[in-house]
Structure formats: C-alpha cells, structure tokens
C-alpha cells in the first residue's frame, strides 16, 4: 500500500487505483505528481529528492480514498479523527500531531484537504505550499 510516507513507486499505485491521469511538476528539491481521477478529483503527491512522499493534497467533488493516499498513516489518521474533541457544529478539520498533520475544508461537492509528515518536509519548505 502506497502513498504518504511511501516511496515514489507508490504514486504509480495510486494512479492505477484512481484510474487516473498523471502529470509531474519538478521543483527545486521536490516533485509534485498530480493525479486526476475521471470524476475530476485531483490528488497532488509531494515527493522529496530522496523519493519519499512527504505530503498529499486533494481537491474535488469527492473525497479521495483515504486508505489509498494515507498509506501506512491511515490508522493514525483514523485514530486521530476518533479522538477529536466533540463540539457540535460543522467546521474544517485540523489535526496536528507531532508526526502527522491532516487538514480538511470545503463543503458538499467541493472538498479540499492536505496531509503531511512534518519531519519529512524538505529544508525551507513551507507547508502552506501543499495544496
């Protein structure tokens, strides 16, 4: 299973899973692999110069398959959701743990989100760039 925390080959697995097209944008010390599913949802996977997926971001009309894109961090994500303090009312999600950040927003039929591993961010990389 692929993706967040996985190696660059996992991006290919995600592309196949989403039945998607892919484009790669090269940056200074990382690449962005953009995967777009046929229903329009876009997943951007941020791959470091050492070949590790350190962040994923998504936007589109459907929330992507979180098990697929969170990879080995899926259980931590799921547990973090469960431990969220419950206040009535709908608002964006902002999970900030030492080893994992997950943020989601939007509204029905246009969802946005990002997840990243703070310790794996390239030097000088601002997580606000992940989108």
């Amino acid at each position: 299973m692929a993706s967040l925390g996985g190696n660059v080959d996992s991006v290919t697995a995600d592309r196949a899973h989403m039945n998607a097209s892919i484009t790669v944008t090269a940056n200074n010390n990382y690449n962005v692999h953009q995967i777009q599913g046929p229903e329009g949802t876009v997943v951007n996977e941020y791959v470091s110069s050492t070949g590790t997926v350190f962040a994923v971001a998504w936007h589109g009309h459907f929330i992507p398959d979180m098990q697929q894109i969170m990879g080995s961090y899926f259980d931590q994500y799921s547990a973090a959701l469960q431990s969220q303090e419950k206040h009535y009312g709908r608002h964006p999600l902002n999970i900030k743990q030492t080893g994992l950040v997950v943020q989601t927003g939007g509204h029905m039929r246009l969802y946005v989100g990002r997840a990243y591993i703070p310790s794996l961010l390239p030097q000088g990389f601002n997580p606000d760039q992940i989108q």
Binding site: N19, Q36, G37, P38, E39, G40, V42, A57, H59, G60, H61, F62, I63, D65, M66, Q67, M70, F74, Y77, S78, L81, Q82, Q84, E85, K86, H87, Y88, G89, R90, H91, P92, L93, N94, K96, Q103, T104, G105, G106, H107, M108, R109, L110, Y111, V112, R114, D128, I130, Q131
Partner: protein, 438 residues
C-alpha cells in the same frame, strides 16, 4: 460580550435590521417567534441550540439554525410525522433525517439505475459521514410541499457500510447525540447532492466507466458497491421540487450583538416569485465558480484559480458551518488545545474581540465589503452563558492557508442571504443560477 437589551430596544433592532426575526437575550427562557415575513412560502427557523440544548454540559449546538418539516408517505396527508430540529444547511443539498424519526412511515425505496434499492453516502467537511437508504416522501416546509421527493434516511445501524463511504472516519453521525440534530435540511445551490456545474456525474449518462464514490451504492446482502442513479432519483433539494417558489431560498435572521440565547427568523422560498421574496435593490449578486466565490482578506485573495479542476482556495457562504473559518492572515492567535471546554485549537482566541473586514467578489464583476468580528472562542465556550447562548456572532476559527474563507452562520446575522439553485429560472435581470446574493 453579551447584550442585555430591554424589549423596546429589541423591537427597534428588528425593525432597523429589516430582517424578519427576533432575539432573545441571555437567561430569558421564552423565544419570540414573530417574524416579519409571512406567507405560505415562509418557514420559521431558530438558532436555539438544537435538540440537546436542554441537556447538561456543552451539549448546546452553537450557531445552528433549526427548522421543522412534515414528512409523509408519497401523496398522503395522513401518514405523516413532523420532525423538528433539522439543521438548515445552505452548504449541502437534500433532506437527511434520522431513521428513528421516520421509521413508522415505511417510506418506499428509490432504486438506482441497476434496479436495486439505492443507498446514499453523504460526506462532510469534517470527514464525518451519513449512510442510509434513499426513499421517497412528500415533504412540507412552511406552506409548500415537495411531492415524490427522494430523501436520505440516516441508518441507525452501522452494518454494511462500505469502507469507501466511511473512508477511515469513525464519525458516523447517525444518532441525535452524535449529530446534534434530527437531520439536515440541505437547501443549497444545487438541485441534487450529486449535481454541479450543470450536470451529475452520478447519473448513468455521465460518461464515466464506473460510478464515482463515495456517493450512491446498491447492496447485495451486506456487500455494497458504487452505483449510478438518475438525477431524478438522487437525494434532491426539496425547494427545487416545490410547484412554485422553487428557484432558491432567502435566509433571514436578526443581527446579534455578541451573543444571544435564541434568535428566530425565516427561511423564505423562491427569489423574485412573490411580494415577500424580491431581490432587494441593495443586494449584490455573486455568480459561483465551482460553487465558490472569491474573498479578499488582509491582502490575500481566496478564490478558485482553475475553474476546470476547481483548484484554488475557494470561498463560500454556508449556513451549515457554525462559525467564520478563514486562514490566519493577520496573526490572530489560536485557542489552546487544553481548555475547560476541551481542545479548542481550531478556533481563534484573540485577547479582545477584533473587528475586521473582507471583500467578496465573483466572476460577474460584483463585489461587496463585509465587516465581521472575531471573539475569543474560549471565553464564548467557558463563560457562564455556555449552556444558554446559542447565537455567537464572533465564533471564528482557522481554515488553513489554501482553503479560503468559509462564511458560516454568523455571516447571516442581520443580513438577508439569497441562494439560487443551479438550473432553475431566476428573476429577469439576474445572472443564470447558481449564485448568492446579500
């Protein structure tokens, strides 16, 4: 931050605001319901803390607008139940109601295109979800009825929910206690919950080789798979199926100075179709791109940058968000993660209330500047009024950079907000729907 206005001032406030509704401050227990709007196209709404508000300790739903619906078997006027405490949500589409509230009606199933009974999976911004069958009902809101309306019954059982629906979330909001409501009344800018940009990718005519998910499913035993379903059979905006006044809604709520125990207002059906729902000359119309518009705040522009992929930090108006959520562009501190009210780190906690403004604009060239306040959320949640004040005008929180501006219910206080429905006929002179106006 709470205001204690004597009744005579309250009356003046309502008149001056021009907004149908009333305010009940602080410990006054009665709730005024004398909205200035009346007619068959008017439904009473109330920001009253929801169904659990009378219970102990933090169970009040802040900044939720609630309403009642009468739900009947299709075509029947006798086999009916009235369900109260439905959350009025202009950010989603379709009526979703707890199974326990409508079980006695035995509503007929709606089938997907493969001929099997359809199930809907609705997912929300906080990664919570709702699962359950699509059924047909006649639904009356105020004095208007949508016959043969596909609605979503939220299953009380968690059995058989596909993992592509729950998607790692454990937030299955299928009880009153978990949802803080008896259901969600989605009266947003689309005609169904799988419709946008003039079409539905969930319909068999979408051209996709397989059905998108999470959305609609059919099941064999406990095994459920994504399925196509015609647009007409998708969970539908009740307003769009009204015989008249079916092109949108107006939310009218009074202004709130700081906090109020309860406020009452109206949901008006139709825009420009009756004497009581004309598009005000003072209202600015904002056409939508990917169901978003653009907000300029603190020299940052939050809007869709690619209308094809819908990329970019879109901004939106949404009565179902219970605060104003926006990127921290001005250095407002977040609340602590450990407070007497729990982890409030998603909310803002300025030392004192900040009065700010932002400018909304859209691709049709219109713009309007709006003032708003950001109060200390920890104070709002931990002062003695916590259990009694349902309307908190300054409740605000963080939307990460890149996610835009979410104008939740506090935006509606004292401002009439129009939401027109994609594909419906609009008043002459107005741009094609969908749009917002205020």
């Amino acid at each position: 931050m709470r205001s204690f206005l004597p009744p005579i001032l309250l009356a003046a406030l309502v008149l001056v605001s021009g907004c149908g509704g009333s305010v009940t401050t602080s410990s006054t227990s009665s709730t005024g319901t004398t909205g200035s709007s009346s007619g068959s196209n008017v439904m009473a709404i109330s920001v009253n803390g929801g169904p659990t508000a009378g219970e102990l300790n933090g169970s009040l739903y802040p900044n939720g607008a609630f309403a009642s619906a009468t739900i009947c078997s299709p075509g029947s006027t006798t086999n009916c139940v009235t369900v109260n405490n439905l959350l009025v949500d202009t950010g989603s589409t379709g009526l979703r109601v707890l199974q326990s509230a409508v079980a006695s009606l035995n509503l007929p199933a709606v089938n997907a295109s493969n001929g099997s009974a359809a199930y809907d999976c609705a997912t929300f911004v906080d990664n919570s979800y709702m699962w359950g069958p699509v059924v047909q009902a006649s639904v009356t809101l105020g004095g208007e009825t949508a016959n043969n309306l596909p609605i979503h019954v939220i299953s009380s059982s968690a059995t058989g929910i596909p993992t592509t629906c729950s998607n790692g979330s454990t937030l299955n909001e299928n009880t009153q206690a978990s949802l803080g409501a008896n259901g969600i009344l989605g009266v947003g800018s689309e005609p169904t919950d799988c419709f946008y940009e003039g079409g539905s990718v969930c319909s068999p005519g979408s051209g996709l080789s397989s059905p998108p998910y999470p959305a609609y499913y059919t099941c064999s035993g406990n095994s459920c798979s994504p399925a196509f379903i015609t647009t007409a059979d998708q969970v539908t905006n009740p307003v769009a199926l009204f015989p008249t006044d079916n092109n949108g809604v107006i939310v009218e709520l009074p202004s709130v100075s700081g906090a109020a125990a309860t406020i009452s207002g109206s949901l008006i059906f139709g825009i420009g179709t009756e004497s009581n729902n004309q598009l005000a000359s003072t209202a600015t119309v904002f056409t939508l791109t990917c169901d978003n518009f653009t907000t300029d705040f603190a020299n940052n522009v939050y809007g869709i940058t690619n209308p094809v992929t819908c990329a970019g930090p879109g901004s939106f108006i949404d009565s179902g968000s219970n605060g104003l959520f926006f990127p921290d562009a001005t250095g407002i501190p977040a609340c602590p993660s450990q407070t007497p009210a729990g982890d409030l780190s998603s909310f803002y906690c300025p030392a004192s209330t900040e009065n700010l403004s932002a400018t909304n604009s859209s691709s049709n060239g219109t713009s309007k500047t709006t003032s708003f306040s950001v109060a200390n959320a920890e104070s709002l949640f931990t002062t003695a009024s916590t259990d009694t004040d349902a309307a908190l005008s300054g409740l605000s929180g963080l939307n990460p950079t890149g996610f835009g501006f979410d104008w939740g219910l506090p935006f509606f206080y004292g401002v009439n907000v129009y939401t027109s429905i994609d594909g419906q006929k609009v008043p002459s002179g107005a741009p094609a729907a969908p749009w917002w106006a205020y």
